[in-house]
């Protein structure tokens, strides 16, 4: 998957991607290899999404411990459609993603809790929300890599 994706990119991005991939998978500890795997999975989704009219606001990856969350503050515009897309590495059994308002209420959540949960949301008003990435269950190791992207159209 990573090599196929890299072939599709322009030469400079390929060089950048290869450097990043080599650094992450050959020279880095297993933790960062997991993040890299999650990021590669998500980048493929984001690039596929461009063909359907989706643009990218941000894409980020991190290492999570089982039972813990990673929280992100986000502004969403009234009238735009949004997706919060995620990918977990092979050690993820159940990853969940939820959207909270600023009062701490769950506004919406992913329909499926798996390795690639996703939220689709069109806000009725421009506002500030929290994206919560929640690693519910791992396959074996205590930590897993997870990537998250906010895309819009």
């Amino acid at each position: 998957m990573p090599k196929m994706l890299i072939t599709a990119l322009t030469p400079a991005f390929r060089a950048l991607a290869f450097s990043a991939l080599a650094l992450c998978t050959l020279a880095s500890p297993p933790a960062m290899a997991g993040e890299s795997e999650a990021e590669t999975c998500l980048r493929a989704k984001v690039w596929d999404g461009y063909n359907e009219g989706w643009g990218i606001r941000t894409m980020t990856s991190s290492e999570l411990a089982e039972g813990k969350t990673r929280n992100y503050l986000v502004t969403l515009y009234k009238g735009n459609e949004y997706q919060i897309a995620t990918c977990g590495d092979a050690n993820v059994a159940k990853l969940d993603v939820l959207l909270y308002d600023t009062d701490g209420n769950v506004v919406t959540r992913a329909k499926d809790v798996n390795r690639e949960p996703k939220i689709e949301f069109t806000p009725e008003d421009t506002g500030t929300y929290y994206i919560v990435l929640y690693l519910r269950e791992v396959v074996s190791k205590k930590h897993a890599g997870a990537a998250m992207a906010v895309v819009y159209k």
Binding site: A15, N71, D96, K141
Partner: protein, 289 residues
């Protein structure tokens, strides 16, 4: 008897060996810096929320906070304003030689925003000029040789018409939304937020100009009331740090952001005077670059 003791000793030794070495062949994990927002979460049996409290939520990261310029254009159209923000971009006269971190970061953010908004329509020479300005900013900020090579490659392909503008928009989008925010910039944490601030201020300036003739549509409220974004920028402008721009820039920037925060926090709709104020305060900051 002797054989039984030997067996017990051997068994105990094996047990100790297994306990010391672990039950599975697992490479030691190197755990990166702890996530700032991690909280012990309950383990519900059914899909249920993690039970986070406001303290945990308020420790959230800001990497996804700031809307992108193209996203803002789409929201403007969704609000019923069909003005293209690209048509409102002035001919900025930037001081490209100024390598103060704050100045270079803000300026680069402005140029990134202008590039994103015009990549599909601008003349080749204009696009090449903007790529050169971004590249210069990245060098001044310590972006590293990989981003420099990426920008050089983009420039070469634009110059030789070897890339179509739709493809280039995708690359700019990823550059702005995914690549640049992950760069280390010599571990200077001010750089990414100030690049974002430059892009956002340019966007706010253009949006205010686009909606000023339609103050009653609600578009201004939809697009300009972003108090969390302004707070985020104010925090970074106030931080002490090496290589900050002279007080003329940072003081003006902070004052402008405070005015924008007041307007963003208004419960009443933004008036025509409010929109004019947004144009004025953002023009004032952009003029210093």
């Amino acid at each position: 008897m002797h054989k039984s003791v030997s067996t017990i000793v051997l068994s105990l030794s094996l047990a100790a060996f297994v306990a010391a070495c672990g039950g599975e062949a697992e490479t030691p994990e190197v755990v990166p810096e702890p996530a700032p927002t991690e909280e012990p979460a309950a383990a519900p049996a059914t899909p249920d929320d993690p039970g986070l409290d406001m303290e945990a939520l308020n420790d959230a990261e800001n990497v996804a906070l700031v809307p992108s310029p193209v996203e803002t254009q789409k929201a403007l159209e969704a609000a019923g304003i069909d003005t293209q923000l690209a048509s409102l971009i002035p001919d900025h006269k930037f001081d490209l030689a100024n390598a103060d971190t704050d100045h270079a970061a803000l300026r680069t953010g402005v140029v990134l925003a202008d590039s994103l908004l015009t990549v599909k329509t601008s003349k080749k020479e204009v696009l090449l000029g903007r790529l050169d300005q971004i590249r210069q900013g990245m060098t001044q900020l310590g972006g590293g040789k990989d981003i420099d090579a990426t920008l050089q490659d983009m420039r070469d392909r634009v110059k030789t018409d070897a890339v179509d503008r739709e493809e280039l928009l995708k690359e700019f989008d990823e550059l702005s939304g995914a690549v640049i925010p992950e760069l280390k910039f010599n571990d200077n944490e001010r750089v990414v937020p100030l690049i974002e601030a430059g892009s956002w201020l340019e966007g706010a300036n253009l949006v205010a100009k686009a909606v000023k003739d339609s103050p009653d549509t609600g578009a201004a409220d939809t697009l300009l009331k972003q108090p969390a974004v302004v707070d985020y920028f104010i925090d970074y402008v106030r931080e002490e740090g090496a290589d900050k721009a002279p007080a003329t820039v940072t003081e003006k920037l902070e004052a402008s952001l405070k005015t924008l925060k007041e307007l963003a926090s208004k419960t009443d709709p933004l008036s025509a005077d409010d929109i004019a104020t947004v144009i004025q305060v953002t023009d004032d900051v952009l003029a210093l670059l």
